[in-house]
Assembly symmetry: C2
Homo-oligomer: 491 residues x 2
């Protein structure tokens, strides 16, 4: 069906941008690099938030809220952090505007200059650890398991809806622990929570692993991550969890009295996922007809469209449709009955296909006669006629089936696009011809990593934690390597 949508094999990037806008998910705003998340896109994000929030709470975390602004000096306290975050950022320098005396409208009032500039948070470690100093005195105050849902700003020069925007929405967990072991366990736990969410809720398979030193979060001793593979063979980092050691505790002087009466610095983690997940969702499942949503995330799981020529027909169809809607809702299924007379059925079919509604039911006068409905699956585009009395059971089954099918399809794609190579020649060939993940031996040096990046644009996505050690030699330098790492070009 014609969607006026660029095909993926024509121009994947263009397809993505068009899809995000046409499916009513997000659009660019009048503010450079900042997006507007439209109601349909936001409804999907809300579903993600609700499930993640549930998972965080189930693992003992509580939400809190910390200031949007961070005094400039806070960033200077943690040396590696300042280089990573305090440079490209939005800086508040004044707190007042005034009417211009020369009639140029409103201008910055030079008398309202802040003594110290405020940075719009790019991430909140510094302001939070400045707060934790007041919260933590004794081992009794630990652990602190706090999460924040917030907007953050990083001044990106090249932006793309959901994938890279100046302002984005995210959650950032910030935890404080008495021991190194506990903090590492927390950072690992959150990586597993993220992977669980991505796979079982978004139907996006991910590889769990560790970042190399050069790819770590600024201020972390270890960064755990989940990496997904998009349909164009590029990887996307879908979530990260950092073991921060005592870096921030030392920078902000956060100590606690141990049970034994000593004084120790506190151990920290931080972890986050963002609206970037929306990009991962779109680029894992969607097709040339538009968005494809896993049922667990679909704002509407089923849409019912009446096909009619006159009011009499509409009335008879509505009776059946509304009964069906009630029955499906009783099963916990989200159903919309779209009987708007301002749009034609064809327009509605097109729209719901574009917006990825998992199941579409059409009911016309002939269906009433036969006691059937027409049911269409968004994932396979298959249509079938289903007896009226079987619809509820069929739809219930499809909710699971579509969710599973999307996941399996994505796992299949990833398997086809994960290649093990031995030589650098082979590596470059695979990257060029096929893309995807490339498992190769690496000598463990930042120098080799940098060389590969410069020559091929591929980076080490992670050192997978679920793969076995396997001695070999670096594909570039021939030096010894204990295990393969995963390379890919990435978003």
């Amino acid at each position: 069906m014609a969607k006026n949508l660029t095909r993926r094999d024509e121009d994947y990037s263009k397809w993505y941008n068009e899809l995000v806008v046409k499916a009513d998910m997000a659009e660019n705003s009048g503010v450079r690099g900042c997006m507007v998340i439209k109601p349909y896109g936001f409804a999907i994000w809300e579903k993600m938030q609700a499930e993640l929030d549930r998972m965080f709470k189930e693992t003992g975390h509580q939400n809190a809220y910390f200031p949007l602004f961070i005094p400039k000096s806070y960033f200077s306290k943690e040396a590696s952090h300042v280089d990573g975050f305090a440079k490209e950022c939005a800086v508040v320098t004044h707190y007042r505007l005034k009417n211009d005396e020369n009639g140029n409208g409103i201008v910055v009032d030079p008398e309202a200059k802040l003594e110290e500039e405020l940075i719009v948070r790019p991430t909140s470690e510094t302001i939070i650890w400045d707060t934790y100093r007041k919260w933590i005195q004794s081992y009794r105050d630990l652990p602190i398991l706090v999460n924040q849902w917030a907007n953050v700003v990083r001044w990106e020069m090249r932006t793309r809806l959901f994938l890279r925007t100046a302002e984005f929405l995210w959650q950032e967990g910030h935890t404080a622990h008495a021991t190194e072991k506990e903090a590492i366990a927390e950072a690992e736990q959150m990586m597993h929570v993220y992977a669980d969410f991505a796979e079982n809720f978004m139907a996006v398979p991910v590889i769990k692993g560790l970042k190399t030193e050069s790819e770590r979060f600024a201020g972390a001793l270890e960064t755990y991550c989940i990496e997904a593979l998009m349909q164009d063979g590029k990887a996307l980092q879908a979530g990260t969890s950092h073991f921060l050691g005592q870096n921030f505790a030392k920078a902000f002087d956060v100590k606690y009295a141990t049970k034994e009466g000593g004084q120790e610095y506190v151990w920290a983690t931080s972890w986050g996922v963002s609206t970037r997940l929306m990009g991962a969702l779109i680029m894992t499942h969607s097709d040339d007809n538009g968005l494809v949503l896993p049922p667990k995330l679909a704002p509407q799981q089923v849409v019912i469209v009446p096909i009619y020529r006159n009011d009499e027909q509409l009335e008879a169809i509505s009776e059946v449709a509304k009964e069906l809607q009630t029955q499906l809702r009783d099963k916990g299924i989200r159903v919309k009955y779209d009987d708007r007379d301002t749009q034609k059925p064809g327009w509605k079919f097109n729209q719901y296909e574009l917006q990825g509604v998992p199941v579409r039911i059409a009911i016309g006068p002939k269906d009433l006669e036969k006691g059937t409905v027409e049911l269409a699956r968004r994932d396979t585009l298959e249509k079938q006629f289903v007896k009226r009395e079987e619809v509820v059971a069929v739809v219930e089954g499809l909710m699971t089936e579509i969710q599973d099918n999307l996941y399996k399809k994505a796992v299949g794609y990833r398997a086809e696009h994960t290649t093990t190579v031995e030589t650098y020649e082979e590596f470059k060939k695979v990257l060029n011809e096929k893309g995807g993940f490339v498992a190769a031996h690496w000598d463990g040096t930042a120098k080799t990593e940098e060389q590969v990046k410069n020559e091929t644009k591929a980076t080490i996505r992670c050192i997978p934690i679920d793969s076995d050690n396997e001695a070999g030699s670096c594909m570039v330098t021939g030096k010894p390597s204990k295990r393969r790492v995963l390379f890919a070009k990435a978003y």
Copy 2:
């Protein structure tokens, strides 16, 4: 019990500030005027959010998200709006910091000056109506019923936790309609939604009414509001809903094609409540022992504390406590069993009283023998022994009883502190000696309103919509008045 809390009759303002901090609700941050909302306070706010969000969706609204930053020029487009909002605000002027060549750490990079300054949103009408221009072409696109949960910044000079902070959290609804009538109906509907929420969820009685012209939102033709009365006799504006006419549609050129083929400007509303509601909640119900929470908003509705001398006792008590916890949870009641051995029972009692947990259950060895528990109500501070098999039913009943009792108590306080006066002398006397709402005749002029404000600090809180017309003469000028209005000193 000694809470080290200032008594309300000693210094109400000091009591409030201490309570907010000691009950672990919020605290000041290192950033001037910005607060940290602590996990306990945030859990209450989350309950408010969840219920309001449900009510918004039930009335057909969807959530979306718009940029944090607004280009300066957007504010100039609506003349009255710019005076109200664009003056005291956080202004982003640069997008980069750099290392200072003279070794002063990081400084603003003068080369990274923005062409146009960005204002951190104090409210989002301008950026949203700039967006709606793209969303609205035809009558088919209307109404647009959108809400946003967001942080906003207004550069306040004197701040107080929850009541007035530079950054605060809120929701802002922004709707677009084809007709004036529809827009007015929407603005009125949202005032009723807010009142319903305040009364039935927060147990805070409110007066619904209209603001006078001088108290209206900058850019509104009519501002509907709900006004609550605090324990110190001062009023608090708890929510506002604005009928914006076509002001923003004209400023941002938002027209739609009518069914008949014409072009019309769109009609608008906006409405919001904020973390200020937390202040209203605290100052309506709490007492000298700390916070008092209505059960519907309490993160924990019941807390169970074991009283024990040894592990054997604890084990026996825990068995009963955990069974009780399960039974209460099955009834949908939020229960915490606090068996931490790092704190003594007295400390726990104190803490939960300070934090306003509606029901506290204590179980000791004697209770086990007798088959009872000790149950304490937070609102009345009454204690009773309840038979083990009756606890669930008693607690279930208390959830409703406490909620109702708090509401009735607040209604009673308000009735005692609402006075009808005829003369200005009487008016001043009541304000000084008793405070509260004062119902008086007013001549309808801004001049008289201003005079009263200057002489008494009282403002017209609203023209109540639920009171009857009653002709009289203005208490200040003697000029004719159609109905009484409500004056009060206010937060």
